[in-house]
């Protein structure tokens, strides 16, 4: 059944999300934390989006969902790059 597949997908996405958050909390360094954030959370969001599309396929909303997901991916990548670059500069200036 499609709904069961969707629920499985959403819970897999949740698993990635939670592990990303725990990584944010427990990893030792800013840069490793950014890794957890940018990668794990986005995979989680992708799986959740897939689940939602499977539950309620509606052409307009599906395009919005996929567009939002792509934007979140792009903005996560850009944001983590900018933050890492900023942190690197600050540490270089302070040394």
């Amino acid at each position: 059944m499609i709904d069961a597949l969707a629920i499985v997908s959403i819970f897999c996405g949740l698993f990635f999300f939670l592990s990303g958050s725990i990584g944010l909390l427990r990893l030792p360094d800013l840069f490793s934390r950014l890794h957890a954030l940018a990668k794990a959370d986005n995979v989680g969001l992708a799986l959740i989006t897939l689940g939602i599309i499977l539950i309620e396929p509606d052409p307009v909303n599906d395009i919005k969902l996929v567009a939002t997901w792509l934007l979140v991916m792009a903005s996560s990548a850009i944001s983590s790059h900018l933050i890492a670059r900023h942190a690197l500069r600050e540490s270089r200036d302070n040394d």
Binding site: G13, L24, L37, E56
Partner: protein
């Protein structure tokens, strides 16, 4: 055909559990906002809130049957970057 999220359906329960777990991952991320030794660490919690918020808005849109929340999620995805750029580009000294 809209999915029927009646009060006792398994799908509704699964989505609600997903919602609560997402909120849990947000709380874990907010701990980083409280602890994080530097401003970049704190700000990465905002990124987590952005991605997690999008996921929560998706599931809320499904559960409450409010399609406008997809627009809100799109806007949230766009604005996470603006915040990051504001952080990294405004921490400069004036010459």
């Amino acid at each position: 055909m809209m999915a029927v999220d009646s009060t006792f359906s398994l799908l509704g329960i699964a989505l609600l559990i997903a919602l609560n777990l997402l909120l849990l991952s947000l709380i874990i991320g907010l701990l980083r906002a409280w602890l994080g030794p530097g401003v970049e660490d704190r700000f990465s919690a905002i990124l987590l809130l952005g991605t997690g918020g999008v996921a929560i808005l998706f599931i809320l849109a499904l559960l409450l049957q409010v399609t406008a929340l997809y627009d809100v999620a799109l806007v949230l995805a766009l604005l996470a970057v603006v915040g990051t750029v504001a952080l990294t580009r405004s921490e400069q000294s004036d010459d």
